[in-house]
């Protein structure tokens, strides 16, 4: 049987995403899972699923309801009671339970930008559930940003390391 993208999605992750759908939390899959979806990874390989959320109070409340409903359905606390409005802010990131789930929930963009991405997003299926995946052009834009920022961080830390080395050795002398 030919391997499909959705076969790479772990069952607990798909199960958790289904609670977001039920609670009407809009989300977009991006990152490595989206790269794989667009056929740019060998055998659709990816580690974790990065899920983009829209930072509004309503969506954040619904997200908290979804997470807690999932916890109840699992018969245990997936997380401690979730701060209701945590995801109404930008640049929040959360992994509910790194052992059980391989999903990072992230708010990176204000609602208007999120909605633009949502409009461009392409539909994909995980079993019977329809999900949205970031469009190729938008993914390229985000990847370009990631390439630049990671390279800059590398350069900054390399520079810092060299300065520390020089400073420390000059003190010894």
């Amino acid at each position: 049987m030919t391997l499909r993208w959705q076969d790479r999605i772990r069952k607990p992750d798909a199960w958790l995403l289904s609670f977001l759908k039920t609670h009407k939390v809009p989300f977009i899959i991006f990152g490595g899972a989206a790269v794989a979806f667009h056929g740019c990874r060998d055998d659709f390989y990816f580690d974790d699923i990065d899920v983009l959320l829209c930072p509004t109070e309503t969506h954040s409340k619904n997200f908290a309801l979804a997470v807690n409903a999932a916890a109840r359905a699992a018969g245990k606390m997936v997380t401690t009671s979730f701060p209701p409005l945590q995801f109404a802010k930008l640049n929040e990131k959360m992994n509910l339970d790194p052992v059980q789930f391989h999903i990072d929930f992230i708010t990176m963009f204000k609602p208007s930008v999120f909605n633009d991405y949502m409009r461009n997003a392409v539909s994909a299926r995980i079993e019977l559930m329809e999900v949205k995946v970031l469009a190729l052009q938008d993914l390229i834009r985000l990847k370009q940003d990631a390439v630049e920022s990671n390279y800059n961080r590398h350069i900054n830390f390399t520079g810092d390391a060299q300065l520390i080395k020089q400073s420390a050795s000059s003190r010894v002398v």
């Binding site: 740019c40 990874r41 701060p83 190729l136 390229i140 990847k143 990671n150 590398h154 520390i164 420390a168």
Partner: protein, 173 residues
């Protein structure tokens, strides 16, 4: 809930965290700007930017969690509130393998052996009446170099994705 979170944000100082860790006997090593200043290899003047390195063992993890719990109880937080605040506090303290911004970052050493080696090379520094074990200049350099390598690997991964995504886009048009 929002009130308790605000209370934490306003009052949860780095010094208090250091105090409760010292009281609990949790061994921590100090790096970051404060350590650089102490070692005389400061790059950017900053009096209050820590990296606390924990030993990767169960006793240390339990001690750290208990100390954090005690700190939260001191703010009169209990049950769900305290759990939420703990999550928030840890997020504020960037409890993750690699730091991305200023403040206080809590890292876990790669191995117990490495921690012990760094401990043997550390020296005590007085900080606001607290005795803190500070990394040697060589270990501070090594840590920076590790960050540089970490971000370079991330950069390479994103770069490879970006090239494939661009090829995909080109093949479409």
């Amino acid at each position: 809930m929002a009130d308790s979170h605000s209370k934490i944000r306003e009052n949860f100082s780095n010094t208090k965290l250091l105090e409760v860790l010292a009281e609990a006997g949790v061994p921590v090593l100090v790096s970051g700007r404060v350590a650089e200043k102490f070692r005389g290899c400061e790059i950017i003047p900053s009096s209050f930017d820590f990296e606390l390195i924990l030993k990767p063992d169960l006793n240390c993890a339990v001690g750290f969690t208990k100390a954090l719990g005690k700190l939260l109880r001191d703010f009169g937080l209990q049950g769900g509130d305290a759990q939420d605040a703990a999550k928030l506090a840890t997020a504020d303290f960037r409890f993750k393998p690699f730091p991305t911004s200023e403040g206080i970052d809590i890292l876990v050493a790669e191995s117990g052996l490495l921690f012990e080696e760094m401990l043997s090379r550390s020296t005590a520094m007085d900080f606001e009446g607290l005795s803190l074990l500070t990394l040697s200049a060589e270990d501070i350099f090594q840590l920076k170099q590790k960050y540089a390598d970490y971000w370079y690997k991330k950069y390479l991964k994103h770069y490879a994705d970006l090239q494939r995504l661009k090829e995909k886009l080109a093949s479409r048009s």
